[in-house]
């Protein structure tokens, strides 16, 4: 399809990028933490992908290449924003620092996916991801939210697969520690059933 687009069938570009629209937005939202900025950056990113299509060599998957361009666009937005004094700069966590001990518990009753009908549960999960330090948020977003494989996530981030695994492990532990106390409130310990189902008590 890329060859046909480059040969002049420009409209095919719409079909080419449709499977990536969501992934690019979510990645940029996770990076910029603003829907408006993420949408604007996504538009700029897709225009760059279109204009640079002839430089795609097929060494990586198209999705990896396109997500890398989108991520670079997001990083450029971050740099622009950090130049504005009213924008707080996120602290950069050193790879070696941080507490990566999980929350200790003796019993876990599974929270089923149906529970995500509850908007406050979705918000808890979203906020926990957005609160992660950037280097850990990146890997969770690509690996667990977008479900890219380790190699692809490494390609998008420009780091080794081993580094992806280390960061992913730490990120998952941090999420577990943050979310276990919150999510436990969604389970009724007496019966082991969800306390809320679609807005009503059971």
């Amino acid at each position: 399809m890329i060859g046909r687009i480059l040969a002049g069938e420009k409209q095919l570009f719409h079909d080419l990028i449709r499977p990536l629209e969501r992934a690019v937005f979510v990645m940029l939202f996770s990076l910029l933490r603003s829907e408006t900025d993420a949408e604007d950056a996504a538009q700029e990113a897709f225009i760059k992908i279109y204009r640079n299509l002839s430089s795609f060599r097929g060494e990586a998957k198209f999705s990896t290449w396109a997500l890398s361009i989108a991520r670079n666009e997001g990083l450029a937005w971050l740099r622009k924003r950090s130049a504005r004094p009213e924008e707080p700069i996120e602290p950069v966590l050193d790879e070696g620092s941080g507490d990566f001990t999980p929350a200790l518990l003796t019993d876990w009753r599974e929270i089923p996916a149906e529970a995500l009908e509850r908007s406050e549960l979705r918000e808890c999960l979203r906020q926990a991801i957005l609160k992660l330090p950037p280097i850990y948020r990146d890997v969770v977003q690509l690996r667990d939210v977008q479900e890219l494989d380790i190699q692809e996530a490494a390609g998008v981030l420009g780091i080794s697969p081993g580094a992806v695994k280390v960061r992913l492990h730490r990120a998952r532990v941090m999420l577990q520690k943050e979310l276990v106390p919150i999510l436990k409130a969604y389970v009724s310990p007496a019966k082991g059933k969800m306390r809320f189902w679609f807005g009503r008590r059971v």
């Binding site: 949408e39 538009q43 999980p102 929350a103 518990l105 991801i129 276990v180």
Partner: protein, 79 residues
């Protein structure tokens, strides 16, 4: 090889992804059989990984796709 809780925690993410070798997996499984703390840590972490992957966690703004393709059409028209 006998492993302790901290050793299990260190491999939780790889264990969830099926990225530990057979020997280590067998050791972790043996540990999990008698350690309710590590079992609960593993279950809760795996549960969170599944929930995070749900497409409803991050929603796309209404009209995002339409606005994107309109913008692309405008960019393509410019050349």
């Amino acid at each position: 090889m006998k492993i302790d809780c901290k050793h299990v925690w260190h491999h939780i993410s790889a264990y969830i992804d099926g990225d530990v070798d057979a020997l280590l997996r067998a050791e972790i499984d043996r540990h999990l059989e008698h350690c309710e703390i590590c079992s609960a840590i593993l279950d809760s972490t795996r549960n969170i990984v599944v929930l995070v992957a749900d497409g409803r966690i991050f929603e796309i703004p209404t009209g995002y796709s339409e606005r994107l393709h309109e913008r692309l059409d405008a960019a393509m028209a410019e050349g």
